[in-house]
Symmetry: C2
Subunit: 305 residues, 2 copies
């Protein structure tokens, strides 16, 4: 990645962190302080901020100011974080390690972790509504409302939660390959398509560039999950920041456990090639915004955790 | 209650049930079917529908058509239901009985119950946003947005979730009377004030009648909780539909465990008298809408479960 591009992405990441910090401020005098503390522990615990960055850089590719889209980016990351907290619970995936630290329920207890997740989802919805409430703004009220609806549709039972439900079933029986694809399309894919779709809706964009961004969301969502399955199989806990090898141990149906490591790797290579083709259609290759988005996608596809 | 009034309230309750049924339809072919089934089990399992009815009848008192406020009423009840599901979890209150039936996690398992709660909160937010998206409507877009914001503020960490957090702490140490009041004001009170506040915001109402409705929300929220504490102490499981006597067993700080049953009863009588005074200011006593709201409040104060 070019130093300029890396610096731009780092600066947007810093602004996302700052928006997240402000979205749920700590106040030791607040009656719900411990729950807020638990939510902040997970929210500000060093995520890669892939989803908010995808949204911001896509908005830029569409010729709009990413700063105006910050509430939507923050809400997406809060929803992603709440899903991790609930997913890590003993009754769900029972994980004790996340981003290299004890999971929320290990650090704060199960009851507080349940409420911390609830708090993040509730606050995300509040932030979306507050963004729609502002009388003036670079995006129309209807565009903001449509983007908010698309984000919550992605996180609901037709998206992420539906995928988690299918994942629970996958712990009980062997899923078919189409079922695995449907699981991933919902569980991980929905929240990776959402930033691209929200950017297009906010900018009220149409045409080849908007279409390419939507296709990028589809393909990247799938690639991300194949890669997750591969990392679970081959990475160390140290590199991954969470417990590896769980899929195999639990007999979970993943691309790797069902198709084998080599087939999964070939699948990922094919998807990465598709993504490069799509990225070329997202911009004319000469503008800095297109370069940033391509660099971010490259970073996502190269990730080791 | 007059038969006419009872029939009107029953008809609105039926319409709430029907809106809730439509809000989260069952589809056995859906990948998240089991989670939806669990959410519907709790959502359509025979609640009193106090919160949605308070909203609808207050809208009517303000001279508007309650039918137009149905999405907001449905969202409130979905939020209330999700909070019960999560509150009943083994890591929270560990309850096996609710509304006379096994709790959600007993019937569907803990993981599915966590996701069912998440689904209801997510869908409630979606319903609020969808109601704001409609281009035309009897309430202005800004009024609908403000009502939605007030509902989600009531269910968040400054309201209901904050109260639940304080409740968790109350399991570990003795709370002072002001802390108990603050706990109840947030945990139960916030979602009982919300329907009154949302009605006022939707109708964009101001003046003595609007003020009286807001005061009614405040006072009713407090009365409701004192009554809950009394019922926990004196009712049978059969009448209550949930496990009674838990507060005492767990050493929880409630009005009854801290002030004694007689003081709590005196407190409730005082609040009920205040409520009758406030109700007189909500209408001129001659209109059917005021009669309905008064009857509903009377029903709430007379409840045995």
């Amino acid at each position: 990645m070019e130093p300029d591009t890396a610096a731009r992405i780092a600066e947007w990441r810093r602004q996302v962190e700052s928006a997240l910090d402000a979205a749920l401020p700590a106040d030791p005098a607040h009656p719900g302080h411990r729950v807020v503390e638990a939510a902040r522990y997970s929210l500000l615990g060093g995520g890669k901020r892939i989803r908010p960055l995808l949204l911001l850089l896509s908005v830029e590719v569409l010729g709009r100011d990413p700063a105006d889209a910050m509430p939507f980016a923050a809400a997406l990351e809060m929803i992603h974080t709440y899903s991790l907290i609930h997913d890590d619970l003993p009754c769900m995936d029972d994980d004790s390690l996340r981003r290299g630290r004890p999971t929320c329920h290990v650090a704060f207890g199960e009851a507080t972790a349940v409420l911390a997740g609830d708090t993040l989802l509730n606050r995300a919805a509040e932030i979306l509504l507050a963004a729609c409430c502002r009388e003036e703004g670079p995006f129309s009220v209807q565009a903001r409302l449509r983007a908010s609806v698309s984000i919550l549709a992605a996180s609901g039972v037709d998206g992420m939660i539906g995928g988690q439900a299918l994942d629970l079933e996958g712990g009980e029986r062997i899923l078919s390959e189409p079922e695995i694809e449907s699981l991933h399309r919902m569980k991980t894919g929905a929240l990776l398509r959402a930033p691209l779709a929200a950017a297009v809706l906010l900018a009220d964009a149409a045409g080849p560039r908007a279409d390419a961004l939507l296709r990028l969301g589809e393909t990247l969502g799938l690639a991300f999950q194949v890669q997750d399955d591969i990392l679970d199989a081959v990475a160390t806990a140290d590199a991954l920041g969470k417990t590896p090898g769980k899929d195999q141990v639990r007999g979970k149906s993943t691309y790797v456990t069902r198709l084998g490591l080599e087939t999964a790797r070939a699948r990922l290579a094919g998807l990465s090639a598709d993504i490069r083709t799509i990225l070329a259609a997202c911009g004319d290759g000469s503008d800095a915004s297109g370069t940033c988005l391509s660099a971010l996608v490259g970073y996502i596809l190269d990730r080791r955790s």
